[in-house]
Symmetry: C2
């Protein structure tokens, strides 16, 4: 019996299961007799024959699934080599797959493009986008980003109020290996230069600890407090990640060659540097870590809807051929479209230059972009201090 196979790859998001729900819904609508299969742990489940039948999932379960963060099918960071490709294609053939919808980031799109090139069968390969890093080219923004960014924006309003109450220096280290979108989203709700974040460091701009300390000193002098958003992927002048320089020999890389950053070590080094330069100040470094990426307490309604629509569109498109679903924005509406897999596969979208104001701040244009995506800033009382 013909089937459509769905899987989830890479790091989870708060709304990745909405995309799964959207794909199930569209597939069912297209052809009620189609078997809908989910591969557990991404392509790993395909080669292991580890699939679950999603054809008969009820409406109530579908609703609950959509509201549950993090990949319900399980995920993987495996990157198939040519031999693994053959095994995956053979598995898809055994399952009589007409389409393989793989929900993930640019590495996931890369895996699909590899499969498409190796395949000679009738199966279409469609990439449905998700990533909290917002780093997929051709997308205005990516499902999963808005929820993560809203988590971060809330954190920075909160920390600004915390450090008004008891002055000092606060640094939050935010996920994002190559692209600074999530780190810069800290400024989405910033109204004036006195609002946090006072300094923003992303992987797109060279970072030096010495300059950072001077920047902090200048803000401290002006405001008596300094709140910093720093990407875990900040790099030195030579493009070497600071965390990598710190970790020296003891590096781990995943199958895609990505260095596994923990942020934690970076946090400790930044804490030490602050302590040495500002021995008397209250200085605190927190690594937000995994919290923003699939946090149950902060799931954005727009993000939910767009993630669902991306999954729906991916399954619909799959009956026409391979491609990558992208979110297009025309200045008014955001809608899914399809582009060739090769346009997205393995590429990284960086923050546009226009989103920066110098090397340590977000421009008005950048803030307008984040402000357009996120919900309205909560109506906060300006403290007496």
């Amino acid at each position: 019996m013909p089937s459509i196979v769905i899987a989830q790859g890479g790091g989870p998001t708060a709304v990745i299961n909405q995309t799964l729900c959207g794909a199930i819904t569209a597939a069912r609508r297209h052809d009620p007799s189609l078997r809908i299969l989910g591969a557990r742990y991404g392509v790993r489940g395909l080669t292991a024959g580890d699939v679950v039948d999603l054809s008969d999932i009820g409406d109530a379960d579908l609703l609950r699934l959509g509201h549950t963060p993090n990949s319900a099918l399980g995920s993987t960071r495996d990157k198939p080599d040519p031999k693994a490709c053959e095994a995956i294609l053979a598995a898809l053939e055994r399952l009589e797959a007409r389409a393989f919808v793989y929900i993930g980031g640019n590495d996931t799109a890369g895996t699909l493009e590899l499969l498409r090139r190796h395949s000679s069968g009738p199966c279409a390969f469609v990439h449905a986008p998700k990533t909290i890093d917002n780093d997929l080219v051709e997308n205005d923004h990516v499902p999963g980003f808005i929820s993560a960014a809203t988590f971060v924006a809330n954190a920075f309003v909160s920390m600004d109020l915390d450090f008004r109450a008891m002055p000092g220096i606060y640094v939050a280290i935010v996920m994002g290996r190559h692209a600074g979108f999530l780190t810069a989203a800290a400024s989405a709700w910033q109204r004036t230069p006195d609002d946090a974040p006072h300094l923003v460091y992303t992987p797109e701009k060279p970072f030096s600890v010495r300059q950072f300390l001077d920047d902090v000193a200048a803000v401290q002098d002006r405001l008596g407090r300094c709140i910093v958003s720093m990407s875990e992927g900040v790099q030195d002048e030579d493009g070497r990640p600071l965390a990598e320089a710190l970790a020296a020999g003891a590096l781990e890389r995943d199958a895609h060659g990505n260095v596994q950053l923990t942020g934690g070590d970076l946090g400790i080094e930044i804490q030490k540097a602050l302590k040495s330069r500002f021995p008397k100040a209250r200085a605190r470094v927190d690594t937000l870590g995994y919290l923003p990426r699939g946090y149950l307490g902060v799931i954005d309604a727009t993000d939910r809807k767009e993630a669902f629509a991306a999954g729906e569109f991916a399954a619909q498109s799959a009956f026409l051929g391979s491609g990558s679903v992208v979110l297009h924005h025309d200045g008014l509406h955001t809608e899914p479209r399809i582009v060739p897999l090769s346009h997205v596969a393995g590429k990284t979208r960086h923050m546009p230059e226009a989103f920066f104001a110098g090397s340590n701040a977000v421009s008005d244009e950048g803030r307008r972009y984040f402000g357009r995506l996120l919900p309205r800033r909560p109506d906060i009382f300006t403290p007496f201090v």
Copy 2:
């Protein structure tokens, strides 16, 4: 003109301004001619003559103030010595204060008891409770705790789902120097032993890294993943905080003699220990840090109401005499009552023995307690993995 003076002390919470709003509302109701003054940065503002007039604050501002987390008046960790006491009492006399309402934890109650004993004037000293640590004696629970605990409970449901999708070991280090309530609240929404947190380490039970690693190995063997809630204040057999042992000579203490824990160093050491014992596992340690304590995105409605009621009751009580407001629970309702300051001042409430199951888990009774306080567990779909 007679006045009531209000101040905020210690670390902020998500609802500490509700208590301020409650006190303002009750004071105004009691005597519309009374001047309502706020001291900036706690008792520090009193001695410096740094007060703001809150008498005419409008209803719309009061509403926004209540919904804004973290101490809007500013805060302090200063502990007045006898000389500072004299200066504070002189300041209160100059302000013709009939009452001084100080919102804070057990150190704040201690400051008030000191002032009361030194005072010979007409001013009453009333402590309004707040702390995310939930460690005030005579209280069923303390305003600020429910919101922080809800943040933590959400984090643990999320991380459980994250590590189902990609198996591994996750440790979140949670605030709480002496009492494990916030760390243990991670288990509020746990339904079965398979749900996170699988291990809980609080300051009340001796901690050893070796035992911790064995515990993790056992959970890993059983479930293929292990999610741990660990207090930043875990202590060894001799009652020495692990973070203190790690930090060795380089310790900071605040004016109350409290060691300043960052949690970060503890996190790095735990990460190293996991890496060495489980070299192949995905292992991640995040320090939740300041996030849970005043997070704009997760403010509980019950916590808001109870914090307001505590402030209201504090101001009402102030016209009858000194004391500490406590939240009493009769099995059905939670209501504020007043007790002598000395009952609460400087004392720490630990987790009751009945809340523990062994040294690394929360008992059913403990979970029932947290479950009673927190909102209902979100209706989560059980993943396919």
